[in-house]
């Protein structure tokens, strides 16, 4: 059962990820990215990260992607034109990407030759209670600094949006 659910949603995530790369229209890319994020949230749930799974749907698939779709529609971005001289990037980039994937896979399989079996319910520490306790005790200072970061981001976005007016 675990394997079936994992394989289904891993396949959905990879197919949507490929769509992000190959689709020419930005809206199609955004929808494919939402599919990837939603299936990743199911995988988080399988790994016992309940709060993170919910936050993934709310924050990533909800807030951030709405921002993306909003900007795409605001700019009326059409399909991307075929770039000239892109064959050079493809010629050199594709083997390097295959090498990157090969190295990553090699390292992972080398480090975890007989990894443990992850199953649903094997770890239930990701509840809101546990995550909240960790955030507000051990990671209190980073959490507070994060609020300053978000404030700076808001101010920066407003300043950038204001400058384009005049």
């Amino acid at each position: 059962m675990n394997a079936i659910v994992f394989l289904i949603f891993a396949a959905v995530a990879v197919i949507c990820g490929i769509n992000v790369v190959v689709r020419t229209h930005p809206i199609s890319c955004a929808l494919a990215l939402i599919g990837t994020m939603a299936s990743l949230s199911v995988l988080y749930l399988l790994l016992g990260a309940q709060f993170i799974a919910a936050a993934q749907v709310f924050v990533y698939a909800g807030a951030i992607m709405v921002l993306f779709v909003f900007v795409i529609m605001l700019l009326n971005a059409g399909a991307e034109q075929k770039p000239h001289g892109a064959w050079m990037a493809r010629l050199t980039g594709a083997p390097l990407l295959v090498a990157l994937l090969g190295i990553l896979g090699f390292v992972i399989l080398r480090a975890f030759p007989r990894s443990e079996m992850a199953r649903f319910g094997g770890f239930t520490g990701g509840t809101v209670e546990n995550v909240g306790r960790a955030i507000f005790t051990t990671y209190l200072l980073p959490f507070e600094i994060t609020s300053i970061l978000v404030l700076i981001a808001i101010v920066g976005a407003v300043v950038l949006g204001y400058k384009e007016m005049d």
């Binding site: 995530a13 930005p26 990533y60 990157l100 443990e116 094997g122 770890f123 051990t138 990671y139």
Partner: protein, 103 residues
Amino acid sequence: MPQGVPLAWYLILSAILFTLGVAGFLFRRNLITMFMSIELMLNAANLTFVAFSYHFKKVDGQIFTFFVMVVAAAEAAVGLAIILTVFKNRATLNVDEIASMKN
């Protein structure tokens, strides 16, 4: 049915998604699509964090995922504002045409 999935599969999936993100960043010429490829890479890193959180049976990895989400939200807000400004000034989203810092 207590059978599970090897944890390495999650890491392999994360590696595949990360490579797809790098491919999108390298091959696409649209500013917004490149930005979305970065989000894909961040998501792949998040999956690794959560997988190791399961491995060590500790919640710390999930806290890091939480912080990555917050940073991604801030980054998306500022980045999209920059993209809006660039589009206002250059009227294009193609990175080949906005390669120079000055006109």
